[in-house]
C-alpha cells in the first residue's frame, strides 16, 4: 500500500483527537478507529512503517499506531 497515503490518513485521524483533553483516551480512540476501519493489509503496512521509525507520522499518530490491533484469525 502507498505508505504516504496511509501516513496521511493516520495523521488526519490523530488530528481530530488533538482537542481530547485526556491523552490516554485520545490514543485509544485513534488506535480503535484504525482497528475498526482499516483492512488488515493497511494495518500491517502501518505497523511495519512504525517499526521502521514511522517517518511522516505526527507524534500522536505514531504513539497511537503502536496500539492498533493487528489481525488475528484472518486469512487475508
Amino acid at each position: 500500500m502507498d505508505i504516504k497515503r496511509l501516513v496521511g490518513m493516520a495523521n488526519d485521524i490523530a488530528r481530530f483527537y488533538t482537542a481530547e483533553p485526556d491523552h490516554e483516551v485520545a490514543l485509544d480512540e485513534i488506535a480503535g478507529h484504525i482497528t475498526r476501519f482499516w483492512d488488515p493489509r493497511m494495518r500491517r503496512a502501518l505497523a511495519d512503517h512504525v517499526a521502521g521509525g514511522g517517518e511522516g507520522l505526527s507524534d500522536l499518530a505514531r504513539e497511537a499506531a503502536k496500539r492498533v490491533k493487528l489481525p488475528v484469525g484472518s486469512v487475508l
Binding site: F37, D39, V75
Partner: protein
C-alpha cells in the same frame, strides 16, 4: 398493484382538527373534521358535486360557480368548495334551480371552447367533458361565432408538455399549483374578464420563463390546455402501477401510467407519503433513458480493454467473470477481489452484492458510492445519536419554526422537499442558510432567509462551533433536555471545549468570513425560535472534516433539545434514491446489514448460520483503498453494479490508472459508462422500471419499486448477482426479490416487520419497523437516543490541507443542478439537457475581470491534481475567491481537478474544496484531449461488436 387510471378527487384538501362536525348532504349523514368544505364532505359521503376550479391538492378558489349548492336556512347558492361545514348543516346538491344554474355556467364555458373532443388529447380524461355530461348540457345557445380564444397559438417550447390556450377555461388551477404546490410563481392570469389568460412570466414561452418544469400545473389542469406531449403522441393510458422514483433521495411515489408495456406518463401519487402528490422535472418527465438506443442489452466480454467487445450469452459472461475472480483469488489471495454496490439499485440487489462479496468472495471488500457522499453522516450520527440515519419525516418540516439549511440546495438537489420547505417558509417559519453560494432559497419568490452565513468553503466546523459557543455562553441551551437525555460527563467535556474563547464567532470571523454579529443572531434564532430543524447536504459531508461537521450539527441539536419530536431534528438530504438503503444493507466494508461491525461475533454468527459460511472478522477495503491496492498490485478484480467511479470519484486519473491495473473489471450497468470503458465483462443492467424491489429514502422510508415492463437485457439486476454467486460456487436460490427482503427482515432488527406484503398494505414503511413499532418509526429518538444517552463529541476545527496559494489562489467547489442528475448517465439521455447541456464554471465578476475572462469564454481550471477546460459563467451568486461547477458531463472532467484529500473518519472525498487557478484558454486540456481519444477508441471497440453481429 395494478390500478385504474383515475383516482377520486375529493375537491378540496383534507383538514386536520380534533373537532368534528356532523351535517347532512342529500339526506345522508356525514361527519368530517372542522374546517372541511361542503364539497369535500359531500364527496366523502359519496356524492359528487360538479366542479371545475377545485381539486383536492389545492386550496379552493371559488371561481367557476359550478359547485353551487343549497343550504337550508341560507339565502342564495353558496359555492360548496369555499363554504366550510357547520354543525347541523343540511345541504342539497341536486335541485331544479341548481341544475339550471350549472347548465348555464357550462354553456358559457363551452361557447368559448373548441368542440374537437373526438380528436382532443384529453378525450376520455377531461373534466370539462365530464362536467358537460354531469350537468346534462344539450345545447349552446350563444353559438360559437362570438368573440373567443379559439385561434390562440399553442406554446410547445417545453420538451415535455404543451400549452394550448384555446382550450383554457381560466380556472387558475395551474397558477395555484405553481404557487402552492411548487412554490415557483411562474404563472399569472393576465388581463381581466373575458380577456383574462394564463401566462408564464412576462408573457413568455414556458421555456424562457421561470418555470422549472415540475409538471404540477399540467397535473392540475382539468382540460387539455396543459398536456403531456407523451399523451398527445400515445393517447390516454389504460392502467397504472405505483412505484418509486429512481433519482434523488426524496423518493417520490409515482403512478406509472401505462399502455401495455409502454409508459405514457409518470404522475406523482397523491397517496405518496414522501412527496404528497408532487414531483420534479426528473422524476415526472426524465424516464426516456430507459429506452434509449445507447442501452446495452447483451452481455459482452473481452480479454484486454484495448480489444473489441464480443457479445456472448449470459451464461458465458457469468462463467467467464467467475473463473477470472477465482483465478485471481488463487494467485493473489482471497482479498484480491471485491465489489461495489449501487445506491441506484434496490435494497434487495445491494444486499445481494454485499452478500456475494462476504460469502462467495470470502472477504469484506465491499463498498458503495455513499463513500463519496454521505458516509460521514453514517459515522457522525451513529457516534452521537446512535443511528446512522436522519431523525424525521419530510412531513415534519411543516411543524418547524426555524429551519437551518447547511451545505444543501434543496430547490435543485431535492426539489420536492424544497417545495415543501418553501411552503412552510411562506407560512411564516424562519430560515437560516449556511452556504458559500447564494442558493435560490436565500432570496426567492415569497421566501427570504433571515440569515445567510456566507462562509468560506472548508470552514463549516468553525461556523458550527461558533454557533454552539454562542448558545452555551449566552445560556441558550436546553439544560433540562441535556441533563435528562445526554451523557453528562461527555457534555461537560464538550461544554468546556466549546466555551473557550477561540470558538467564539469573533475569534473565528477571520477564518470563516462570516460577521460575528450574524453568527450570534443565527444562533439565538435557532435556539430560541421554537422548533428548530437542521437540513444538510453534501456541502457538509464532502470535506476533510465531514464527519466532524455532522457531529457538530448533532451537538447543536442536542444542546438545544431540538431532537425527538416533530418539527425538529437532524436531517441529511441524501443524494441518491437509495443511498440510505445501500448503507442500511451492509454495503460498507466494516459493517454487516443494520450497521453492525464485522468484528461483532454474535452478529457474525447470525449471518454465518443463515448463509452457511464462515465470515471474515476483519474490515475490508474502502473504494479509495481498493484503488490504491490495485495500483500496488494486491487488488486485481472488481464487480461493480450500477456505479460509475471513473466519473463520480475524485482524482479521475488515479481512478482510471487503478482500473487499468486490474485484471478483471466487471461492470453491470444500463450504458457503457466511463468505468465500463475499462471493463473486461459487461453485464446489462435493468432500470427501475424493469424490476421489483424497494428503495429507502432520506427519511428512512422503504418504498416499493414495481416492475412495469420486462427487463430489456433479459435479467433483473438481482438475477445477475444470483447467477454470479452460483458460478462462484456459492449457491443462491431466490425466486423473487420479496424472498430477499424476508431474509433481510430475519437478520436485521430494524427491519423485522418489513415485507412486500406489509409494503403493499401500508404503502411505505419508515424503519425501524419491528415489534415495538409495527407500522414503522416516523420520528426517531423520542424518549431515548438509540445509543441510550446522547453523546456530545468535541469538534476541533482543523483547516483543510487544501490551501490557496499564489499558484492556486481560488477555491473551487462543486454541486448539482435541478435538471441533471449526478453523473448524468440518465438525464443526459433525455430532453432535460435542454436546460443544462454543459457544465460551466461560475465565477464572480471581479475574479473574472482580474483575469480578463468574458462570459461564455473557455477557461482552464488547474489544481494540484490536474487541469480541465470549461466555459465561464460570470455571476454574483459566487463570492469573490470562490468558483463553482457541476459534474454532470464526463468530458467536463470536474473530478480531474478534485484532489484525493478526504474526510478523516470515512475517506469521503473533499469535493467541496479544491485550490485552483483559472485563466482564459483556447483549447481543451490535455486530459480532455486524451479523454476524447480514449472515448472514441472505446466507441469503435463497441461498434465492432455490432459489426460482428451483422
Amino acid at each position: 398493484m395494478i390500478q385504474t387510471i383515475r383516482w377520486k378527487d375529493l375537491g378540496t384538501p383534507a383538514r386536520v382538527s380534533e373537532k368534528t362536525v356532523d351535517l347532512e348532504v342529500d339526506g345522508i349523514a356525514v361527519t368530517v373534521p372542522d374546517g372541511t368544505s361542503v364539497l369535500r364532505a359531500a364527496a366523502e359521503a359519496g356524492i359528487s358535486i360538479p366542479k371545475l376550479c377545485a381539486t383536492d391538492s389545492l386550496e379552493p378558489f371559488g371561481s367557476c360557480r359550478l359547485c353551487l349548492v343549497e343550504i337550508e336556512g341560507r339565502k342564495g347558492y353558496p359555492a360548496s368548495c369555499t363554504t366550510p361545514v357547520t354543525e347541523g348543516m343540511v345541504v342539497h346538491t341536486q335541485t331544479t334551480a341548481l341544475a339550471k344554474i350549472r347548465r348555464g355556467v357550462m354553456e358559457l364555458y363551452i361557447s368559448d371552447h373548441p368542440l374537437d373532443c373526438l380528436t382532443c388529447s384529453a378525450n376520455g380524461n377531461c373534466e370539462l367533458q365530464d362536467m358537460a355530461g354531469a350537468v346534462g348540457l344539450r345545447e349552446v345557445r350563444y353559438g360559437y361565432d362570438g368573440e373567443n380564444h379559439l385561434k390562440a397559438e399553442k406554446d410547445t417550447s417545453n420538451p415535455y408538455f404543451t400549452f394550448d390556450p384555446a382550450k383554457c377555461i381560466v380556472c387558475s388551477r395551474c397558477v395555484r399549483a405553481c404557487e402552492e404546490t411548487q412554490g415557483t410563481f411562474a404563472l399569472t392570469i393576465d388581463g381581466r374578464g373575458f380577456a383574462s389568460m394564463v401566462s408564464p412570466g412576462q408573457k413568455q414561452d414556458f421555456m424562457d420563463s421561470e418555470c422549472v418544469s415540475c409538471g404540477a400545473c399540467v397535473q392540475a389542469c382539468p382540460t387539455a390546455t396543459l398536456m403531456e406531449k407523451s399523451v398527445i403522441d400515445m393517447g390516454q393510458p389504460e392502467h397504472s402501477v405505483v412505484t418509486t422514483c429512481a433519482y434523488c433521495g426524496v423518493g417520490c411515489s409515482f403512478r406509472a401510467e401505462m399502455k401495455g408495456n409502454e409508459i405514457v406518463r409518470m404522475v406523482p401519487d397523491q397517496n405518496g407519503q414522501a412527496n404528497r402528490g408532487h414531483s420534479c422535472v426528473k422524476g415526472r418527465f426524465a424516464f426516456g433513458y430507459a429506452k434509449h438506443p445507447d442501452r446495452i442489452t447483451t452481455p459482452m466480454i473481452r480479454a484486454k480493454i484495448t480489444d473489441p467487445w464480443k457479445e456472448v450469452s449470459w451464461d458465458e459472461a457469468i462463467s467467464h467473470a467467475a473463473s477470472e475472480f477465482k483465478r485471481i483469488q488463487s494467485q493473489h489471495g482471497r482479498g484480491a477481489v471485491g465489489g461495489i454496490t449501487s445506491s441506484r439499485c434496490t435494497n434487495e440487489e445491494t444486499y445481494l452484492v454485499q452478500k456475494l462479496v462476504r460469502a462467495a468472495f470470502g472477504n469484506n471488500n465491499v463498498d458503495t458510492c455513499a463513500r463519496v457522499c454521505h458516509s460521514p453522516t453514517g459515522y457522525g450520527l451513529k457516534a452521537t445519536l446512535g443511528e446512522s440515519a436522519g431523525t424525521q419525516s419530510f412531513d415534519s418540516v411543516m411543524k418547524s419554526d426555524v429551519v437551518v439549511v447547511i451545505g444543501a440546495n434543496p430547490t435543485d438537489g431535492h426539489p420536492v422537499f424544497g417545495s415543501r420547505l418553501k411552503r412552510r417558509l411562506r407560512e411564516g417559519a424562519q430560515l437560516i442558510v449556511v452556504d458559500p453560494r447564494s442558493i435560490d432559497l436565500v432570496d426567492g419568490p415569497h421566501v427570504k432567509a433571515a440569515f445567510h452565513l456566507k462562509l468560506r468553503p472548508g470552514t463549516n466546523v468553525a461556523v458550527v462551533n461558533s454557533l454552539a459557543h454562542v448558545i452555551i455562553t449566552e445560556g441558550l441551551e436546553n439544560a433540562a433536555f441535556v441533563a435528562e437525555r445526554c451523557d453528562t460527563k461527555e457534555y461537560a467535556k464538550w461544554r468546556a471545549f466549546i466555551s473557550e474563547d477561540r470558538n467564539s464567532p469573533e475569534a473565528l470571523e477571520e477564518i470563516t468570513g462570516v460577521p460575528a454579529a450574524m453568527v450570534r443572531g443565527a444562533a439565538r434564532l435557532y435556539a430560541q425560535g421554537g422548533n428548530g430543524a437542521i437540513y444538510y447536504g453534501l456541502g457538509v459531508t464532502e470535506h476533510s472534516q465531514g464527519s466532524t461537521m455532522v457531529m457538530g450539527i448533532a451537538n447543536l441539536a442536542m444542546a438545544t433539545g431540538n431532537i425527538g419530536r416533530e418539527g425538529v431534528g437532524v436531517n441529511p438530504l441524501r443524494g441518491q434514491n437509495n443511498v440510505q438503503g445501500s448503507c442500511d444493507m451492509g454495503s460498507f466494508p466494516h459493517e454487516l446489514p443494520g450497521y453492525r461491525h464485522v468484528s461483532d461475533s454474535i452478529t457474525r454468527g447470525l449471518f454465518e448460520n443463515a448463509w452457511g459460511v464462515k465470515l471474515e472478522p476483519e474490515p475490508g477495503l474502502r473504494i479509495p483503498n481498493m484503488l490504491d491496492a490495485a495500483i500496488d498490485g494486491s487488488f486485481r478484480g472488481i464487480y461493480i453494479q450500477g456505479e460509475d467511479i471513473a466519473q463520480s470519484d475524485p482524482d479521475t486519473q488515479h481512478v482510471t490508472a487503478a482500473l487499468e491495473a486490474m485484471e478483471c473489471v466487471v461492470v453491470q450497468d444500463l450504458f457503457l459508462n466511463e468505468t465500463a470503458k475499462y471493463a473486461h465483462v459487461f453485464l446489462p443492467g435493468s432500470s427501475f422500471l424493469e424490476k421489483n424491489g424497494t428503495f429507502t429514502n432520506a427519511e428512512r422510508r422503504i418504498s416499493p419499486v414495481r416492475k412495469v415492463m420486462p427487463a430489456l437485457g433479459g435479467k433483473e439486476d438481482w438475477e445477475a448477482t444470483v447467477a454470479l454467486a452460483n458460478a462462484l460456487g456459492y449457491p443462491m436460490h431466490y425466486k423473487h426479490p420479496s424472498e430477499i427482503m424476508d431474509e433481510i427482515a430475519r437478520l436485521t432488527p430494524t427491519f423485522t416487520g418489513v415485507s412486500f406484503a406489509r409494503l403493499d398494505e401500508l404503502g411505505s414503511i419508515q424503519w425501524p419497523c419491528n415489534e415495538q413499532a409495527p407500522d414503522g418509526t416516523p420520528t426517531m429518538h423520542i424518549d431515548e437516543f438509540v445509543r441510550g444517552k446522547g453523546r456530545f463529541v468535541i469538534t476541533e476545527y482543523v483547516p483543510t490541507e487544501e490551501r490557496t496559494s499564489r499558484k492556486f489562489p481560488l477555491i473551487l467547489t462543486t454541486g448539482r443542478i435541478l435538471s441533471q442528475y449526478n453523473v448524468g448517465a440518465q438525464t443526459r439521455r433525455t430532453a432535460n439537457s435542454m436546460w443544462h447541456d454543459e457544465d460551466r464554471l461560475e465565477i464572480h465578476p471581479s475574479d473574472a475581470e482580474l483575469r480578463g475572462i468574458q462570459e461564455g469564454q473557455w477557461v482552464g481550471i488547474r489544481s494540484r491534481a490536474g487541469e480541465t477546460v470549461l466555459r465561464a459563467r460570470i455571476t454574483e451568486r459566487m463570492q469573490p475567491g470562490v468558483v463553482y461547477t457541476t459534474f454532470h458531463f464526463p468530458e467536463s472532467g470536474a473530478n480531474v481537478i478534485t484532489t484525493d484529500n478526504s474526510d478523516w473518519a470515512t475517506n469521503c472525498p473533499e469535493y467541496k474544496v479544491t485550490a485552483v487557478q483559472v485563466e482564459p484558454v483556447t483549447q481543451p486540456s490535455e486530459w480532455q484531449q486524451r479523454f476524447k481519444r480514449f472515448s472514441e477508441e472505446q466507441a469503435e471497440l463497441l461498434a465492432k461488436r455490432e459489426a460482428a453481429r451483422a
